[in-house]
């Protein structure tokens, strides 16, 4: 069953085309990897799914009630911002409706503590984010997404600038999550894709290639092949 249907989406930024006629479906419990050159529209595509970017044409259909957890790239953050690991993670539980003097519920706190324990972040809980390594911060951002109890996790290059050990730890978390839920992973890590056969999309403004290497039923778009 499809949880997301992207129908012929185009996105323009001030006259420059970022995406052109992209069609893509995401099936429940699948692990979709998106690769492509820088400036190829990978981040734009996931921002369109998240509703942060409005497509100039086409629509994104999302299954009703689908909860999406988003993990931005750890490198885009100002590491000097004064906030603790715990406070970053519990932000995932903030209520959409702005109310004065609202508080986090006991359940919010319990869920946050659960995730912190599951990802092994207990010792870092009260640290400021500026004291973390890149891999640790990336894990904190994953925790913030997981605390929303998502059905789909979208990650933007979570392993960028990380060493092998940290990469493996992140992948382990994703594989565990993928046991019963869906993942969309934007990545440059070709080595990982070679070792893990699954649905891969190559994006450069259009979908250049889409194939599921597990089933070996490659589909080619626009007659191009890479």
């Amino acid at each position: 069953m499809n949880i997301i249907d992207i129908n012929n989406i185009s996105v323009e930024y001030f006259g420059t085309k970022a995406l052109e006629g992209v069609c893509l479906s995401i099936v429940d419990k699948e692990f979709l990897s998106i690769i492509g050159p820088n400036g190829g529209g990978k981040t734009t595509l996931i921002k369109t799914i998240l509703g942060l970017v409005k497509p100039s044409s086409g629509i994104v259909e999302i299954k009703k009630g689908l909860r999406i957890g988003y993990v931005p790239q750890h490198t885009k953050f100002d590491r000097n911002f004064p906030i603790s690991v715990h406070d970053v993670i519990i932000t995932g539980r903030i209520k959409p409706k702005i109310r004065m003097f609202s508080r986090y519920s006991e359940e919010d706190k319990r869920l946050t503590d659960d995730i912190i324990e599951r990802l092994g972040l207990e010792t870092l809980k009260n640290r400021q984010i500026g004291e973390l390594s890149g891999g640790q911060l990336q894990k904190v951002l994953i925790a913030r997404a997981l605390v929303t109890e998502p059905d789909l996790l979208i990650l933007d290059e979570p392993t960028a600038n990380l060493d092998a050990e940290n990469k493996n730890e992140i992948y382990k978390i994703l594989h565990k999550f993928n046991e019963d839920k869906a993942v969309i992973l934007v990545t440059h890590d070709i080595e990982y894709l070679n070792n893990n056969k699954r649905h891969v999309v190559l994006l450069n403004k259009k979908i250049i290639y889409s194939g599921d290497s597990r089933r070996n039923n490659h589909e080619h778009y626009h007659g191009e092949r890479t």
Binding site: L52, I94, F101
Partner: protein, 272 residues
Amino acid sequence: MIGVLIEYDFMRNAFYSALLSSVICGIIGTIIVEKKLVSMSGGIAHTSFGGIGLGFLLGIEPLIGGVGFAVSAALGIASIKRRTSTEADTLIGMFWAVGMALGVIFIALTPGYPPDMTTYLFGDILTVSSRFVKILALTAFMTVLLSISLFRYLKGYLFDEEYLKILGINTTFMEYLLYISISVGIVFLIKVVGIVLSIAMLTIPIATAKIFSRDLGRIMIYSTLIGSITSIGGMWFSYMYNIPSGASIIMVSILVYALTYPVSRIISKKRV
């Protein structure tokens, strides 16, 4: 000093405005420093000069015109940045200069003797009226109330506004609320330290507070305290040696910052 405070109304008003503006600076300053809006705030302060000039031309309270211009500048920069590809930095520069130019033109057009603009450019805490102290008290109260009651939203917004948007929070509302609070805060600060020097009040106490803490709430409280001490100290120097208050407040705050940094380094080294 206490004798002078009890004896003279103008000293009492100056004392209260120093305390109240330190509260505003502590909170608003921390927000603009952490959200990297320092140059934006400089732009807002200078654009408000146009409104002050307009106030003189129309014969209304100049600060009302100032608030109008400051709020429009903040919202204008934000919305133009969203709709066009012009960089915020460039827009800030344009608003900054145009605001000042309009101010100069409006004042030139004002009939009669030209008003003395030094008070607005460099501030004069010793001429603050008791009516202004009340307005300042209301602004400080609103700033404290909003920042405490919406603290977790504020913190989330400052750290990662995109994420809050994904969670379904109305970040446009947050942005407007923030920009309006910053603009109003800055304009009332003009009366105390002036347009040119306001940015110092919004950054120096915060930079000093950040030597001591890396917690958002604490930085706000510490910079309020540090700001209170330095602005009252500066005001005192201004009274004693008859030097302009805005400049003396800023010199005291930068002195405190310059002394705090090495002292804190020595203390933290001893601890290790």
